[in-house]
C-alpha cells in the first residue's frame, strides 16, 4: 500500500507515513530488549508495559497533559526512561498521557472477572475504586489531576455509557460538581473483554463560530456564482427579485445581510452595478 502511494504521490508524501511505520517496528524491538532488561530488575506488582516511541514530526502534535499516575506506573516509566536513554543518549522522552491505554483485570465479584480495555484516564479513575467503593467528584479530580472537562468526559464514559462499571448519584447524563461515584458490584456483561469507548469531545461554541465562518467562506463563491449567473441572464433586476432568485438557486441558508455583502462585493469588483437613478436596481456588467 505504502509503495503504491509512494509511486503515485512521490517520496515526500509518504515520508511521514514511512516514519510512523518505522517507529512502530523500532518500538517492537525496543520492547523485546526492555523485557530482557526487566528480568534483571526487581519491579513491584504485575504490570505489563508496552511503550511506543513516536518520533516527533512524523506524528500529529499532541499537547502533553500532566496527570498523577499511580506510583507503580511511575516506577515503570522511570525504569524505561533509564533503559532507553542509556541506549540513546541525548534524546528526550515525553510521555503522551492522552494516547495511553490499559487493559484492567477487574474482579467485580469473586466469579465475575472482566478485562476492561480503557484509556489511561479511565484507568486512573477506575484504579481509585481499588481503595474505596464510593468517591465524590472532587476527590477524583484532585487525586488523578485530570483536567476538569476531560475528567467529566471520562466519568461520563464510565458511568453513563453502554458498559456502566461505576454508578453515579444523582443519576443523569451530565457530571455535576457534587456527584458521587459508586463501584458497580452488580456489573454484568456477556463478553469477557470489554472496550469502554471514550466519549467524543463536544464542539466548543468558539469552534462552532469558527466552523460556521469557514463554511460561509467556502460558500461565498457559490453565492457569487449564483448572483452573477442570474444577473447574466436577466441583465437588469431589482434588488428584491435578485434576492428571491438567489434564494431559489441556493441549497443552503444564507443570512440576508451576508447576501447583501456579496452583492456589494460584486458591485465593487465591477461584475454588476447599481442603477444611477433607481437605488434598488442592478445591471449586469459584461
Amino acid at each position: 500500500m505504502l509503495s503504491k502511494l509512494k509511486q503515485e504521490c512521490g517520496a515526500s508524501f509518504t515520508s511521514k507515513l514511512e516514519g510512523m511505520f518505522r517507529d512502530m517496528e523500532l518500538s517492537k524491538d525496543v520492547m523485546i530488549q526492555f523485557k530482557q532488561h526487566l528480568q534483571h530488575q526487581r519491579l513491584p506488582s504485575n504490570i505489563d508495559m508496552a511503550v511506543n516511541i513516536l518520533t516527533m514530526g512524523y506524528w500529529p502534535t499532541y499537547t502533553p497533559v500532566e496527570i498523577n499516575l499511580p506510583v507503580e506506573m511511575v516506577h515503570y516509566q522511570d525504569t524505561f526512561k533509564k533503559f532507553y536513554l542509556g541506549k540513546h543518549s541525548g534524546r528526550k522522552l515525553l510521555w503522551q498521557n492522552t494516547l495511553g491505554h490499559c487493559v484492567l483485570r477487574s474482579s467485580f465479584t469473586e466469579e465475575n472477572v472482566k478485562d476492561l480495555q480503557v484509556s489511561l484516564f479511565q484507568a486512573l479513575v477506575l484504579l481509585m475504586f481499588n481503595e474505596r467503593d464510593n468517591l465524590p467528584f472532587d476527590d477524583i479530580r484532585s487525586e488523578t489531576g485530570i483536567e476538569d472537562s476531560e475528567l467529566r468526559r471520562t466519568l461520563q464514559s464510565l458511568a453513563c455509557g453502554k458498559a456502566r462499571v461505576i454508578m453515579k448519584t444523582p443519576k443523569g447524563k451530565d457530571i455535576g460538581d457534587n456527584d458521587t461515584f459508586l463501584f458497580n458490584a452488580e456489573f454484568k456483561h456477556k463478553l469477557f473483554r470489554i472496550k469502554i469507548n471514550q466519549i467524543q469531545m463536544k464542539e466548543t461554541p468558539e469552534e462552532n463560530v469558527n466552523t460556521t465562518e469557514r463554511v460561509f467562506q467556502d460558500r461565498q463563491y457559490q453565492i457569487d456564482a449564483a448572483i452573477v449567473r442570474i444577473m447574466k441572464t436577466r441583465k437588469t433586476l431589482s434588488h428584491n427579485l435578485l434576492v428571491s432568485e438567489v434564494y431559489n438557486q441556493l441549497k443552503f441558508p444564507v443570512k440576508p445581510a451576508d447576501l447583501k455583502k456579496r452583492i456589494e462585493s460584486l458591485i465593487e469588483r465591477d461584475y454588476m452595478e447599481r442603477d444611477k437613478e433607481i437605488q434598488n436596481q442592478y445591471h449586469y456588467v459584461a
Binding site: S238, E268, R274, N280
Partner: protein, 230 residues
C-alpha cells in the same frame, strides 16, 4: 475644495500671509481689471501662473492662496463646485489643462471674475440632479488614485462639506462610522449615502430593512435605533 488639513502648519500659514501681502500690492495695479472685459486665454494663463506652485500645477499652497484672495474658507462647498467645473482630477491640485478648459467655459481669467461668479456657482447645487453629479464626482476627486475606495476620514470630511446643511442625521452617521471598523468607503456605499439622505426620513420611519441599502447603512440604522437619541 479643502486643502488636506494635515498640510496646514503654522509656518505655511505665515508664508501664505506673506504671499497674500505681495498679492495685495499687485491687486492695486489690477484695479483697472474690468470684469466685463472678454475672456482672454493669455490672461488666463498669466492668472494661473500667479498661483502655480510648480509648472503646470497649482498645488495646495496655491489653492490656499486663491481661497484667501477669493475671501473663501477652503472648506466652502463652492470650492468643490469650482473643482467640479474644472473637472479637477485630484484633491488639492489644479492642472493647467484642467484650469484652462474649465475657466474657459466659466469665462474667467482673473480672481475678480471668478469671485463674481461664485454666487451663481453656489446656486447650481440647489438643483438635485446637478448636486448628485457633483456628489458622485467628489468621490473620485478625493480618492487616492491607486485605491478603489475612499479613506473613511477623508470621506467623513467630504460628507460634512456636502451634506451638513441637508442631512440632519449626518452627525450621528459620522459618529457611527467612527465607532465602527470601517476603514474605507466604496463608491456604491458613498452614492447610497446620498440616496439615503434624500429618501429616508430623519426619524428613519420609512426605512426598509429589506431594501437594497448597503450593509453599512443597515448597520447604521440598527446602531442608531439602539442608541440614546442625540
Amino acid at each position: 475644495m479643502p486643502p488636506r488639513g494635515k498640510r496646514k502648519s503654522a509656518k505655511e500659514n505665515q508664508t501664505a500671509a506673506k504671499k497674500a501681502k505681495v498679492e495685495k500690492s499687485s491687486e492695486t495695479s489690477r484695479k483697472r481689471d474690468d470684469i466685463s472685459k472678454p475672456f482672454s486665454v493669455k490672461k488666463c494663463k498669466v492668472w494661473f501662473e500667479e498661483y502655480a506652485d510648480e509648472p503646470d500645477i497649482i498645488g495646495p499652497d496655491g489653492i490656499q492662496k486663491l481661497c484667501k484672495d477669493l475671501h473663501l474658507d477652503p472648506e466652502d462647498i463652492v470650492m468643490l463646485v469650482v473643482a467640479w467645473k474644472l473637472n479637477a482630477e485630484n484633491l488639492g491640485f489644479f492642472k493647467f489643462s484642467e484650469w484652462s478648459t474649465g475657466m474657459g467655459s466659466l469665462q474667467c481669467d482673473s480672481t475678480k471674475k471668478l469671485q463674481s461668479k461664485l454666487k451663481s456657482l453656489k446656486s447650481l447645487i440647489n438643483d438635485p440632479v446637478v448636486f448628485k453629479k457633483m456628489y458622485r464626482y467628489a468621490f473620485d476627486f478625493c480618492r487616492n488614485k491607486d485605491q478603489r475606495s475612499l479613506d473613511i476620514d477623508m470621506a467623513m470630511e467630504m460628507l460634512k462639506i456636502l451634506l451638513s446643511e441637508s442631512w440632519t442625521l449626518l452627525d450621528p452617521f459620522v459618529e457611527f462610522i467612527e465607532q465602527s471598523d470601517y476603514k474605507v468607503i466604496n463608491k456604491d456605499q458613498w452614492c447610497n449615502v446620498l440616496e439615503f439622505c434624500r429618501t429616508v426620513k430623519s426619524d428613519l420611519s420609512n426605512y426598509d430593512v429589506d431594501g437594497a441599502w448597503p450593509v453599512m447603512l443597515d448597520e447604521f440604522v440598527e446602531w442608531f435605533n439602539n442608541h440614546p437619541k442625540m
